[in-house]
């Protein structure tokens, strides 16, 4: 019975299907908000669902000479990573006693899977434009991971040195959410920027810069394989604000969380719509110099309990 329950948790709720559905809905809302900001009507709310259904109905073409197994399996890596992350996040928030020491580190490793999947897929495409896109993806990953790790260390320090997400949430529920402090605001800024890059949103969407490199690492993907990459992105849209809430805003095991979640999401969309795209070297400089300095400052403040 336990096995069946586990399967249900991973595949239906709160795993794959639930995260995917909410993620697609949020993408639809994001496109609608973007359209309204640009004074136009925009697509209907179910547009991402239609996109996915259409993609699954098309044939998947394989580029000649590309390693078939790597090409077709790498999108699954991202999907698998996101499924596990979403299950873990829900468990940590609703049943904090079920977490284990070091699960924060496990999450960091799992969050490396989607960019890795893009990198593998792009490299297996046997296309120079895909190779450029894949290398940019990895460069961007190294760029935003550094300040992110420093910020996470700071958050762990604020929680009294606990490497369990359950303890981080509990510390916030017992006291104040970490966001309501100076270091918390700094960490929030760092997290927002890093997650913007992780989601591949402007100003950090250089890896998929069309029409510069024609869809970048996804250039040779079509049909079902491309749909899997889109699924990974959609799931990330749902999971990343949840991660933000867990770390800085007291978790999401209550109804106020819906409002907090939406405000974080709207922040992502607003940043996306009001900024031009940065070149990959500019993005690298922004993260490694500016955002890292900010993150380090936040860490120092957190150590002084500010």
């Amino acid at each position: 019975m336990n096995g069946l329950r586990l399967l249900f948790e991973f595949i239906v709720f709160p795993g794959f299907l639930f995260t995917l559905t909410i993620g697609l809905l949020l993408s639809g809302i994001d496109r609608k908000i973007t359209a309204r900001i640009q004074w136009r009507t925009g697509p209907p709310w179910f547009q991402p669902f239609a996109d996915l259904i259409k993609l699954f109905g098309k044939e998947t073409l394989l580029p000649e000479g590309a390693p078939r197994s790597v090409f077709l399996l790498s999108p699954l890596l991202g999907v698998a990573g996101m499924t596990v992350i979403s299950v873990m996040l829900f468990r940590m928030n609703f049943r904090p006693e079920a977490t284990f020491v070091g699960d924060l580190i496990v999450l960091i490793y799992l969050f490396a899977l989607p960019p890795l999947a893009v990198f593998l897929g792009g490299s297996a495409s046997r296309n120079p434009l895909a190779a450029v896109g894949a290398s940019r993806e990895m460069t961007l990953y190294f760029a935003y991971e550094l300040p992110l790790i420093i910020a996470l260390v700071g958050i762990v320090a604020k929680a009294g040195g606990a490497l369990r997400i359950g303890d981080i949430v509990a510390a916030q529920l017992a006291g104040r959410p970490f966001l309501y402090s100076l270091s918390g605001v700094i960490f929030a800024a760092v997290l927002i920027l890093s997650f913007q890059a992780k989601l591949g949103l402007v100003p950090f969407d250089s890896p998929e810069a069309e029409p510069e490199i024609m869809a970048g690492p996804y250039i040779e993907y079509s049909g079902g394989a491309l749909a899997l990459f889109k699924i990974t992105k959609a799931m990330m849209v749902f999971v990343l604000p949840l991660f933000f809430l867990t770390l800085l805003w007291g978790g999401f095991a209550n109804w106020w969380a819906v409002l907090k979640f939406l405000s974080v999401l709207v922040l992502f969309v607003l940043i996306k719509n009001t900024n031009p795209r940065l070149r990959i070297d500019q993005a690298l400089r922004v993260f490694w110099i500016g955002v890292t300095a900010l993150s380090a400052a936040g860490l120092v403040l957190a150590l002084f309990k500010l």
Binding site: R31, Q47, K54, I219
Partner: protein
């Protein structure tokens, strides 16, 4: 085609723009259509970065003997089912290029065109109307 597959294709046609020896007038009009003013995203139309992501090929220009193999290659790389939309009067007929030394013949000799949008160049309103008509016929 089963209904759900058709519905997906109708609701989310991603377009890829192929310029086959055109004078670029139609290409500029296609660029205009894709701007926020005409808002083709309400039909689900998005510009695809690669032919492998495309559902509709917007082909412009009189096909040249030099561009013909390349246009055919792009068509092959577009996963089926896909629409082929000929934009501009050059797609409808070779007209003044009839006796040219470099002509590769009218479109339907090489590609299964679904809809022709005449005009030199067709206005963005005409292009949108043509694409919507093509989608309705699916």
């Amino acid at each position: 085609m089963p209904n759900i597959r058709l519905w997906g294709l109708k609701r989310s046609p991603w377009v890829f723009h192929v310029s086959a020896a055109s004078c670029n007038n139609c290409d500029i009009e296609i660029l205009d259509v894709l701007t926020p003013k005409w808002d083709v995203e309400r039909f689900g139309i998005v510009l695809a970065g690669s032919p492998r992501h495309a559902d509709a090929l917007l082909v412009t220009g009189v096909i040249n003997r030099k561009t013909l193999p390349r246009v055919l290659k792009v068509y092959e790389q577009t996963p089926k089912p896909c629409l082929v939309i000929g934009i501009g009067t050059c797609s409808c007929s070779p007209h003044m290029f009839e006796d040219s030394y470099n002509l590769a013949g009218p479109y339907d000799r090489h590609l299964p065109v679904d809809i022709y949008i005449p005009g030199c160049p067709p206005k963005p309103e005409a292009i949108i109307m043509g694409i919507v008509k093509a989608l309705r016929r699916l």
